[in-house]
Symmetry: C2
């Protein structure tokens, strides 16, 4: 049964907490939970891990030297933090190199534009491409363009992403990034640019993954910053042809594979070691910032949460598994490999939560569990109330990002929703750096993941029921 409304939830939490606690956790486990809560709210461990990752490793595009350093960093840190088991699982992906990009309006008003190749894009010929720009308000308008109408042209999607606390503007805008190049190519375009999928007004364009459709010519694709998109739109309003020179040395090596790895660490369960409470994030980042927010933040939070539980005198009954996924940004390679490597133990993943969104305090716990488990979830939410976390009145959540594949395979999940208002100002840009992260917010974030993992490990609840 789904909760009828948020009001009902609040009543349950406030009136019935004691009863529910008693049902789910033993008195000792409740005491440890309160200790962990207090400890996590005071500890700067997660921030220190993030500072270390962004300073000592920095950008870590899957398969690059930075990525290799990150894998070594994560393995060493988990060992140093006292994880019972730490190992890596190899992941392969096709090589891609960003190279250099230059975008110049050559007429009527010469300007250098701030652009960035989309991940996976091909480059141009050495001398570049010079052609007229045709603007489309959004992907649908591009899709509606007549066949052949873009012959020899550069298609430009000028749609601007909207800002929301839950980042829902992203889903509306990102389609153009993913498939715009192939849609444009099908109509004859020789290159594709789009307004960055981002909410800022910085001259820091947003990269991100894109795909080429089978059987369609692969044309180069880049995002330009919001101010540069505004400039182009203003120029195009004058109803004179606007010509762009597009030069890129990006390169796909579709048959040359590079190696990376999922990094996994466990605090082994004392009573049911084969039952897994999964908390995860992705270790790779784009190559342009230091990946502080995306997803160093998640990496640091889940590592610190498990470490704090591991330090307790009483070991968790179930195993807490930290999964640091490889190669998320470039196409979910790590999580796909994980699903293959762990196909026979999907059922053993009792419940999971990933962090791959947001840079502020968590304001909501969104469950996706069996109906009989909702009482335990309300109990968990009760412990988080003083952290400012409310309980969603829906029960259809999936785990975020990589871990959504485990969700799709039947794993119960919690989606913890942090403030995402400013997330897409920084996402996939050079600006994704440590200074954007609030150390105090991280304490709350870490407390939430710590309580979740401990609660799930000790509860004995089968969240599939």
């Amino acid at each position: 049964m789904k909760y009828a409304s948020g009001i009902v939830v609040v009543l349950l939490c406030s009136v019935m907490t004691v009863t529910l606690n008693a049902e789910t956790l033993s008195t000792t486990d409740q005491e440890i939970l309160q200790q962990l809560k207090s400890q996590a709210q005071q500890s700067s461990l997660s921030y220190e891990l993030l500072e270390s990752l962004t300073t000592e490793v920095g950008p870590r595009l899957a398969g690059t030297e930075g990525d290799k350093k990150a894998i070594a960093w994560a393995s060493a840190k988990m060992r140093a933090l006292g994880f019972d088991k730490v190992w890596t699982e190899e992941v392969s992906l096709p090589k891609w190199t960003r190279g250099d990009l230059s975008l110049q309006v050559v007429s009527p008003y010469p300007h250098n534009l701030f652009g960035i190749s989309l991940g996976g894009s091909v480059g141009t010929k050495r001398s570049g491409i010079t052609a007229e720009i045709v603007e489309f308000k959004d992907l649908a308008a591009l899709e509606a363009a007549p066949a052949g109408s873009l012959k020899g042209k550069i298609a430009f999607v000028s749609f601007r992403m909207e800002r929301f606390i839950d980042g829902r503007g992203y889903g509306v805008a990102v389609g153009a990034r993913g498939k715009g190049a192939s849609v444009a190519a099908e109509k004859g375009a020789i290159a594709f640019i789009l307004r960055s999928v981002g909410t800022d007004n910085n001259r820091t364009p947003h990269t991100g993954g894109m795909n080429y459709a089978e059987g369609i010519k692969k044309i180069p694709a880049a995002a330009i910053s919001n101010p540069d998109a505004d400039l182009l739109v203003n120029m195009l309003k004058r109803e004179q042809p606007v010509k762009l020179k597009f030069k890129s040395t990006a390169r796909r090596y579709d048959k040359k594979m590079v190696k990376t790895a999922n990094v996994i660490g466990e605090i082994t369960g004392s009573e049911a070691p084969d039952e897994i409470i999964a908390i995860g994030a992705h270790l790779d980042s784009w190559d342009v910032g230091t990946g502080a927010m995306d997803d160093g933040l998640g990496v640091a939070i889940v590592m610190a949460s498990a470490a704090m539980i591991g330090e307790q005198a009483v070991k968790p009954k179930r195993t807490i598994r930290v999964i640091l996924y490889a190669a998320e940004e470039v196409g979910f390679y790590g999580t796909k490999q994980y699903m293959l490597d762990h196909a026979d133990e999907v059922e053993k993943h009792i419940i999971g939560a990933e962090w791959d969104f947001g840079i502020g305090k968590i304001y909501e716990l969104r469950p996706g569990v069996g109906e009989q488990s909702l009482g335990a979830i309300a109990d968990l939410a009760g412990y988080m109330e003083s952290l400012g976390v409310g309980l969603s009145d829906k029960n259809d959540a999936k785990a975020q990002s990589d871990m959504s594949l485990l969700s799709n395979a039947g794993m119960p999940a919690i989606n913890f929703a942090p403030d995402g208002t400013n997330y897409f100002d920084l996402h996939h840009t050079e600006n994704d750096t440590l200074d954007k992260i609030d150390a105090e917010d991280m304490k709350q974030n870490t407390a939430v993941y710590t309580l979740f993992a401990w609660f799930a490990a000790q509860s004995g609840v089968d969240f599939r029921q």
Copy 2:
């Protein structure tokens, strides 16, 4: 006599407005002033001019092709706007080219830093310079370093500018930009970097002018973005040597002069054409943004203000002179030339105001006039009260920026203070683009300059008295 307090001013304005108005302007001139006020608050002329300048011209570093285009643009626009006279006055300055810059931490943790050469900096040898960084908290700490202590090192000033509505943090921080390189060189340093003089957290470093002291070795100088400065500071905390590779193709051509020009336009006075009400801004910009804020905003405001007055059936009694100064950013070349070219008519500059700061509504009128003129200034301020402009209780203002040289030579001035809270987020960066400018704020800004120019032209007041 200076006003004793802001409270006195408010009383004067509210109680005595009718009397004061009657003293300074004729009834007809008051009516025209009200018309101009209403018109300016509705007109988008200044925004349209700014959109045109930033779109059709863009960056305009003094002496470059962009600058030449800007001079042609301004001359043509002033003619099209019905100015009675439009002319240019040649200005020369030494050539400088930015070239390319790369800054890479090579050990212990390799990172590419986002930096920008300071204006006027020399470059490095072709292969670059690799040396250890030594951090100083501020310029004073660098100045206190023992002689010879920086031999073979790269000096790094990590001082962070503070944010204030009036931008006063700039003065505290900018000294290191201007003279840090020579101070460092004197102690043996082979290159100089500083944290950008800026209040943002973007990976868009702030350029700006710098000077070399006579007789001291010229060493290359660059600013790094705030996030990159944070990264270096964090790295240096680990107390291991941090080595930086600094490579720059910036070049000074001290003996090769390039040409630019002050662009001047007038609405000629009907009764006292040789008495000048000066409103100004600088036409040049740095080469990295489109110079929307610095100082396209000022250019557009003063051009639109004069144009609106010129369109009235009744011509102003005194001449309204719009001065678009050349080469402000690179060392006040335009204003210095103006002082030479107009040495014999400084006395004829009745009063002046420049716009070269801020990106929001004007909140205060700061006079710098003769004591007998303060009544008229209070009268002027009364007209601006409904625009949200208060009157300062001080009477020591100078004109901003370029026009401070006319102030120093005895010209009375008004300094209109706009909101500068966010100004130094964008100042001298790639982010100085049109999207940062609020078209509604520009209406207020333009109304203020229009009222000022009309009032001063019609008042007959000798503001030196």
